[in-house]
């Protein structure tokens, strides 16, 4: 890229190791350029370090080496332009605040006025379809609803980049289908950059514009990057979808990773 785009992500030769030993890298040789507004998937088997990479991008863990820039500025910690949606909503939502208060949390910390907070949370509660549940406490919500609260909370702070760590893994298949479609709708509407971690091939192809396939850990790296040019919304029964599915799946066969990856 000749012109540096706003909030574009550039990662060069990034690696992470615990204990500082070279052959104990969790992830290595990570090279990624993610332009603004892209829906990027990190696909890989469990334990391959994709969550580690996402946490480094979020600024929650430090990298051991390599470069990580957002819009040409080196990243050293968490920032308001990157927001994470966690896999377990119970761990991240505040159980003593109701839905609306949770969604407004970031705004309240930024000292946004009550009136403005309310109008922003109204907008995002409507976007995720939870307007009728705004006074409920998280314990009164289903898993899918809790994830929608997380989504609304994160979007209310208007981050440019959304980081999602297997956010739909704990949901039942039906809820997952629905919320996947909603996510596409929200992404199309808000044009945010999304980096989405999953081990589900079908989910990856359903959602992503580009899929980075991570090898099996330890020392995992990005094996391949696939461009998915199918139009949205995507049909999982279409032959074109299945062609891509077969190609992607072939990465996971024969190296003992098949059992870690969810098959159709």
């Amino acid at each position: 890229m000749s012109k540096v785009q706003k909030n574009s992500i550039v990662i060069k030769d990034l690696f992470k190791s615990y204990d500082g030993k070279a052959n104990e890298n969790v992830i290595q040789e990570i090279n990624l350029e993610i332009p603004r507004g892209e829906f990027f998937i990190l696909l890989g088997p469990s334990g391959c370090g994709k969550s580690t990479l996402l946490n480094i991008i979020a600024g929650f863990i430090s990298k051991s080496g390599g470069d990580f820039f957002i819009q040409n500025k080196e990243v050293r910690g968490p920032g308001k332009e990157r927001a994470m949606v966690f896999q377990q909503p119970d761990a991240a939502l505040f159980p003593w605040l109701n839905v609306r208060e949770n969604v407004e949390f970031g705004l309240k910390m930024q000292k946004v006025s009550k009136v403005e907070r309310n109008s922003i949370s109204d907008k995002y509660l409507r976007l995720v379809g939870l307007s009728d549940h705004e006074k409920k406490l998280p314990e009164e919500l289903s898993g899918g609803m809790k994830q929608r609260v997380q989504l609304a909370r994160v979007l209310a702070n208007d981050p440019e980049i959304l980081l999602m760590d297997e956010p739909f893994g704990a949901l039942d298949a039906q809820t997952r289908r629905t919320i996947q479609q909603e996510l596409i709708r929200i992404w199309t509407h808000t044009k945010k950059t999304i980096i989405f971690v999953t081990h589900d091939i079908q989910e990856a192809i359903l959602l992503g514009q580009r899929i980075g396939i991570m090898s099996k850990g330890p020392g995992s790296f990005i094996e391949a990057i696939y461009d998915i040019t199918l139009p949205y919304p995507r049909d999982i029964t279409a032959p074109s979808f299945n062609d891509i599915y077969r190609k992607v799946q072939s990465h996971f066969e024969g190296n003992g990773m098949a059992e870690n990856v969810v098959n159709f």
Partner: protein, 273 residues
């Protein structure tokens, strides 16, 4: 055969009925045992009631109850006010925790009652020594429970807060404290129970008034019925205080996760720790 699930009101009524039955049986067994014994050794329920009337008539029971309550509440409030911030600090700052933990773990095994002698030496046999004892026992329990609460907070809550732009100060006020409320509440509730146990010992050793004093000195007059009155009063005081605390807690702090009174078994188990 279909099993019917009982309505909650039915369940509660059953609990009340059995509770009353239990007390009724206690009274009967008590009366029976006393018939086989001497009044100075094992007074029966009727005699105990007479003793209670004696003590109420000249105001002794009321006065002593209030005095004991006063000592407990003062010490407990002080201990909680000091213990909560220390607990929060120990939970949040690793170095403070590492520094204080061996200290705490050492003193944990010394029963608070043992400190009565020292407190009397340092503070005299007036109110201060007893309040100091209650403060000491409360401080321990509240600090440890508060610290445990902070340590139990999921890391992702901190991560989420930081990426939403919260400062460390805001995190303490808006995340740590609300998340720790149920643990703090548990701590002050346990501390209240411990305070009742400690006050008796303190008053038995060095006091001129109070329920513990009553229990201890009644033996000099062979007024065993007064001893029984003291014991029952103490039990009622503790029961009443605990009920007030748990009801207030579950009413005001419901959204923080403070639930209605746990079953007796659970609180007894915790008290033994």
């Amino acid at each position: 055969m279909r099993k019917f699930v009982k309505k909650q009101s039915r369940v509660n009524l059953e609990a009340v009925k059995f509770g009353l039955l239990s007390w009724f049986l206690v009274l009967i067994i008590w009366q029976i045992i006393s018939l086989f014994s001497k009044p100075e050794f094992f007074p029966g329920p009727w005699q105990t009631l007479q003793g209670a009337i004696e003590l109420i008539r000249d105001g002794t029971l009321q006065q002593y109850t209030l005095i004991s309550y006063g000592r407990i509440l003062t010490g407990w409030t002080l201990g909680s006010l000091i213990g909560i911030p220390i607990g929060l600090l120990m939970g949040k700052v690793r170095r403070v925790r590492l520094l204080l933990e061996p200290f705490v773990n050492f003193f944990r095994f010394i029963p608070a009652l043992v400190f009565v002698t020292l407190f009397i030496l340092w503070l005299g046999i007036g109110e201060q020594s007893k309040i100091a004892l209650i403060t000491y026992t409360t401080l321990f329990v509240v600090t440890l429970n508060t610290m445990a609460g902070v340590l139990a907070i999921d890391e992702n809550k901190f991560r989420a807060s930081r990426s939403m732009g919260a400062t460390e100060g805001q995190i303490i006020w808006h995340v740590i404290i609300p998340a720790t409320v149920p643990y703090i509440f548990n701590g002050i509730r346990l501390a209240m129970g411990n305070s009742f146990m400690a006050i008796v010992g303190a008053e038995m050793l060095a006091a001129k008034e109070g329920i513990g004093y009553l229990i201890w000195t009644s033996r000099l007059y062979l007024k065993t019925d007064w001893i029984f009155v003291g014991l029952i009063t103490l039990g009622l005081m503790g029961f009443f205080m605990d009920k007030v605390l748990t009801n207030a807690g579950s009413l005001l702090l419901k959204k923080y996760g403070v639930k209605k009174a746990d079953s007796t078994q659970r609180s007894m188990l915790q008290q033994a720790q």
